[in-house]
């Protein structure tokens, strides 16, 4: 008889800059291994509106390129209405375009990801204490 597992995990951590890329690959990967799920999915979710989850290569030059692109694409203080309420409209907009979650397959008990696919928590309005949620489902 096949038994479904549905396992939730929450972690919290601090970011150190306004824009900050935190590599969470090992965190996700080790949680998946602990879950002992042979085949299924892993949802990585940030419950914030000024952060994002992105997936790409961990190379120092590329990390600078990502932050440059975000600064150029979502300029701070560009006459946004939300800046009158809270001075971070640029962070909200970047979060919307980049997305707050990613889903991965699990195969043979391991997180399935490509050689050049690291998982990053992207802080867009730090430094702050942030939460990160995982849900693993499978058999």
């Amino acid at each position: 008889m096949t038994i479904l597992k549905a396992l939730f995990k929450e972690v919290s951590f601090s970011t150190s800059k306004r824009l900050d890329l935190v590599d969470i690959t090992e965190l996700v990967s080790s949680f998946v291994t602990e879950c002992n799920v042979e085949s299924g999915i892993c949802l990585v979710n940030s419950p914030h509106s000024t952060t994002a989850i992105i997936v790409n290569e961990h190379e120092s030059g590329l990390k600078e390129d990502i932050l440059r692109k975000i600064r150029e694409e979502f300029p701070r203080g560009a006459g946004w209405h939300h800046d009158w309420v809270d001075d971070n409209a640029d962070a909200h907009l970047a979060s919307i375009f980049l997305g707050h979650s990613e889903t991965f397959p699990i195969r043979k008990g391991r997180l399935e990801r490509g050689t050049w696919q690291n998982i990053f928590f992207l802080e867009l309005d730090g430094p702050r204490t942030r939460r990160l949620l995982f849900e693993v489902m499978g058999i």
Copy 2:
């Protein structure tokens, strides 16, 4: 014995403007509660090619900023080929960049979302009648 639930729901509604942000948080949240799933995921999916699902704060100034950013980023009638077929290439392009679905964790029977995370159906080529799909899976 753990029993898996996999529940599907479809709703339809009308949008009122060409660009329109419809807050669907309560719709998603109440469906999840009805499903009586303790731990799992909820997929929110728009089956259209000129709409998007986005997640962020429900603040009136920010809503205007989001629509301004979309208009600037995907200008209407900018010589797009698709405009010869159907005058809405800008809406298709925005849909591709913003994405047509979002997935959330379910914990203790409730939709898990952050304090400033509302869920929006983004109309990009309205007004129209639109469909919205939900799939809840879990135990």
Copy 3:
């Protein structure tokens, strides 16, 4: 008794240009039908950092518009740091903004998608041999 299924599939194929839109709708749709899952989800995942999965209408003019928008939005050789390591920073950035996976509902044994929703594998740094992963879960 309801039995959960969690089925994984991997395919590989070749792309033919640097920027290339490969329609994978039939591939996804036929895998879902084979799985014989009544209600559930299908995850479509690319394990690469210079590709994306997008969902939209298959119309030749729109396909050109998508590639034009990507070229304009992520210009090649725009002084990116990563270009000193590997001359493809533009492809990495486009992949991050467009996303490497999509999730769909399954209803009555079939992939649930809109009339104008085709699924595309987007090559951003080809031609190359690429892998594509599917995970179907449900009952």
